[in-house]
C-alpha cells in the first residue's frame, strides 16, 4: 500500500481536465486509497465528480437547514418569557446564522458559490431538513427543539467530524461544540417547565408529543430506502446508517425523558434486553415523504419568508457593491 505522501502527490497532480484515461484511473485509485487510509481530502485534491456533487448536495442542504432553522425559533424571540431565556435564544439563532456561513464557505471550496446555493434553496432545487417545516406553537417548543432537534442533529453530525472531506469535517467540529451547548440549554429549559407549574408541565409534554416523531424522521428514510447512503459510506462522507443513528438517538433520549419527568409519545417503546436497545414504534413515512415533497405544515411559509428577506434585501446588497466599486474595496 502506498504512503500518504504518495497519495497526496497523485491527488494534487494538475490538469484535471483533458487528462487521459490512464491518469484518471491513477487519480481514482489514489483517491480510493486515501479514503481507505482515513486521510482527509482537501479542496485542491483530485476527487471523483460524483463525490464532489454528493458533498455539495449534502453541505448545501446542511447550510440551508441552519438558515431555515432560524425561523421556527426566531418566532419566539419577541415573546421569550424571561430576559435570560431571551438572551439564550437570541444567541442560539445568531449561532445558527454563523453555522450557515461556515457551511456555505465549506461548500464554496468545492467550486460552487453562496449565491448559487441560495438560489437553489429559493427555487426548491435544494432541500433543507424536513423538521423545520413544523410550527412552533408554544414557548415549550423552543425547549423541545433544543433537546430533541439539536440532539438528533448532534447524533447525526458528530460522526461528520470524521468525514473524509477536510473542510466539512473541520466545520462540523466547530458546529458540534456550539450545538451541544444549545442542546443542554434546551434540555434545561424543558426541565424548568416540567418542574414548574401544572400549566408549564403540560406545555412541555405537549411540545415533546409534537416534536418526537419529526425528530426521529431527521435521520432520513430507513436504510433500505436511502438512495445516497451506500455510496456516502464507501466515501466516508457518512459513517453510520440512518437506522443505526436513529437507534442511537432513541437509546439516548429514553433515560433523558425519564429525568425530565416527561413521556415519549410511543406506546411501543420498550427496552429489548436481547438487542441491548430500545424497540420503538413505526414511523409514519407517509408524513415524512409528504413533508419532504413540500406539503408539510410550514414548507411554503418558510421558503416565502426566506425569499422575501433575500428579495427585500437586494437593494442593500446592491448598495454595498456599488459603494465598494466606488471606493475600490473588495466586494463584501
Amino acid at each position: 500500500m502506498a504512503t500518504a505522501a504518495e497519495h497526496q502527490t497523485a491527488r494534487s497532480a494538475p490538469g484535471g481536465t483533458g487528462a487521459d484515461a490512464a491518469s484518471t484511473a491513477a487519480y481514482e485509485s489514489a483517491f480510493d486509497a486515501a479514503v481507505a487510509a482515513d486521510e482527509r481530502i482537501e479542496p485542491r485534491d483530485w476527487m471523483p465528480d460524483a463525490y464532489r456533487a454528493s458533498l455539495v448536495r449534502q453541505m448545501a442542504q446542511h447550510a440551508h437547514s441552519e438558515i431555515i432553522g432560524m425561523q421556527p425559533e426566531a418566532n419566539w424571540i419577541t415573546r421569550a418569557p424571561s430576559l435570560r431565556r431571551k438572551a439564550i435564544l437570541m444567541a442560539k439563532v445568531q449561532d445558527e446564522a454563523g453555522h450557515g456561513l461556515y457551511l456555505y464557505s465549506a461548500a464554496e471550496t468545492l467550486g460552487t458559490g453562496r449565491d448559487e446555493l441560495l438560489d437553489k434553496l429559493h427555487s426548491g432545487r435544494q432541500k433543507y431538513s424536513s423538521i423545520f417545516n413544523y410550527p412552533t406553537l408554544t414557548w415549550a417548543d423552543v425547549g423541545a427543539i433544543g433537546w430533541l432537534v439539536d440532539g438528533a442533529a448532534i447524533t447525526n453530525q458528530v460522526p461528520l467530524c470524521r468525514c473524509s472531506y477536510g473542510p466539512y469535517a473541520r466545520a462540523m467540529v466547530r458546529i458540534c461544540k456550539e450545538e451541544s451547548f444549545h442542546q443542554r440549554q434546551g434540555y434545561e429549559s424543558l426541565l424548568a417547565l416540567s418542574r414548574g407549574t401544572e400549566a408549564q408541565h403540560a406545555m412541555a409534554q405537549d411540545a415533546v408529543n409534537r416534536w418526537w416523531w419529526p425528530s426521529l424522521m431527521m435521520f432520513g428514510p430507513p436504510d433500505d430506502e436511502s438512495s445516497h447512503s451506500e455510496q456516502s459510506m464507501t466515501w466516508k462522507i457518512k459513517r453510520h446508517s440512518n437506522d443505526e443513528l436513529r437507534q442511537r438517538f432513541v437509546d439516548i433520549c429514553v433515560p433523558q425523558a425519564e429525568s425530565l419527568g416527561l413521556t415519549l409519545p410511543d406506546p411501543d417503546l420498550s427496552w429489548n434486553e436481547e438487542r441491548g436497545h430500545h424497540d420503538f414504534g413505526a414511523i409514519d413515512w407517509t408524513e415524512f415523504w409528504a413533508v419532504l415533497k413540500g406539503n408539510g405544515p410550514c414548507n411554503e411559509q418558510r421558503i416565502t419568508q426566506r425569499k422575501s428577506a433575500h428579495d427585500e434585501g437586494a437593494w442593500v446588497r446592491e448598495a454595498a457593491a456599488a459603494f465598494a466599486a466606488k471606493h475600490g474595496e473588495a466586494k463584501a
Binding site: M70, A80, S82, R84, A87, H310, A319, F323
Partner: protein
C-alpha cells in the same frame, strides 16, 4: 405594578436599562429577515449586547423580569427613538446611528468619574463602539451606494430626526458628579452625526429635534403608539403565567 423608583440611581438605571431593553427587542425582530447572512449575525449580536446591558441596569433597580414584563407602557422610561419600528434596513440603520452615537458618548463620559454607572459604562462602551462603527459603515454604504439606497437612507435619517432632541434632556440622576455634561454631549453628538451624514453624501435634517410631544416625553412615560403593541407581544407569555419561573 409600579416600578420601584425610590432613588435617583434607580431612575437612571431604569431609563438607560429601558433604552437598551426596548432597542434590543426591536433588533430581535430582524432575526430571519436580514438582507444578508452577515447582518443576521451582526444585528443579533448588537441586540444581545444591548440585552446584556439592560439586564445589568434593570437588576440595579430591582428584579429584571418584573421590571421588563410587569410594567405598563406608562411606566417605561426609554427614549421614543429606541421604540420606533424597524422600517426598512435604512430606517433601522438611521436609528442605530443616532442611538449608538448617543450611547457611545454618554457611556464615554460616565467612565470618567467613579459613579454608580462607571463599571457598567466601562463594559458597555466597548460594545457600543462596535455598534457605532457598524451603523456608520452602513450609513456610508447606503448613502453613497445606489440612487435607491441613497434615497432610502435619507428618508430614514429625516424620519427619525424629530426623536433625537430627547436624548439631550438630562436623565434623572445623571449629572456632573457622574462626569456627564449634557450640553457637551449634544454638541459632540451633532458633530459626529453631521460628519457621518455628510460623508455619506446625505443632508443633515433641518427640522426641529422634537416632535409634537415635548422633548423628554419617553423619559416621562409618554410613548408613541407602536410601543404598546410591542409590549403586548413582549409581555404576553410572562403575564399569562403569573409567578412562574422559566
Amino acid at each position: 405594578m409600579t416600578a420601584p423608583v425610590s432613588t435617583t440611581a434607580t431612575a437612571t438605571a431604569i431609563a438607560l436599562g429601558d433604552d437598551a431593553l426596548v432597542l434590543s427587542h426591536r433588533l430581535g425582530e430582524w432575526a430571519g429577515h436580514a438582507p444578508v447572512l452577515e447582518e443576521e449575525v451582526a444585528l443579533a449580536n448588537i441586540a444581545l449586547d444591548l440585552l446584556g446591558q439592560a439586564r445589568i441596569l434593570l437588576s440595579m433597580a430591582g428584579d429584571e423580569d418584573e421590571l421588563a414584563y410587569l410594567r405598563e407602557e406608562r411606566a417605561f422610561r426609554n427614549l421614543q427613538l429606541a421604540e420606533q419600528p424597524n422600517g426598512d434596513f435604512a430606517h433601522t440603520i438611521a436609528r442605530q446611528l443616532y442611538f449608538s452615537t448617543y450611547q457611545s458618548l454618554l457611556y464615554g463620559q460616565l467612565t470618567a468619574e467613579d459613579g454608580a454607572f462607571a463599571p457598567l459604562a466601562a463594559k458597555a462602551v466597548k460594545e457600543v463602539a462596535y455598534h457605532q462603527d457598524h451603523a456608520e459603515q452602513w450609513t456610508l454604504r447606503l448613502g453613497d451606494g445606489t440612487a435607491e439606497s441613497h434615497e432610502r437612507m435619507q428618508r430614514g435619517i429625516d424620519a427619525l430626526w424629530r426623536f433625537t432632541g430627547e436624548m439631550f434632556q438630562p436623565v434623572e440622576g445623571l449629572g456632573e458628579s457622574d462626569g456627564v455634561n449634557w450640553e457637551a454631549l449634544h454638541t459632540s453628538w451633532t458633530e459626529s452625526v453631521t460628519s457621518v451624514i455628510e460623508k455619506a453624501t446625505l443632508t443633515v435634517p433641518s427640522g426641529p429635534q422634537e416632535g409634537a410631544w415635548a422633548a423628554g416625553a419617553g423619559r416621562q412615560g409618554l410613548h408613541t403608539e407602536s410601543f404598546g403593541r410591542m409590549l403586548a407581544e413582549m409581555q404576553h407569555l410572562h403575564r399569562s403565567h403569573p409567578g412562574a419561573s422559566w
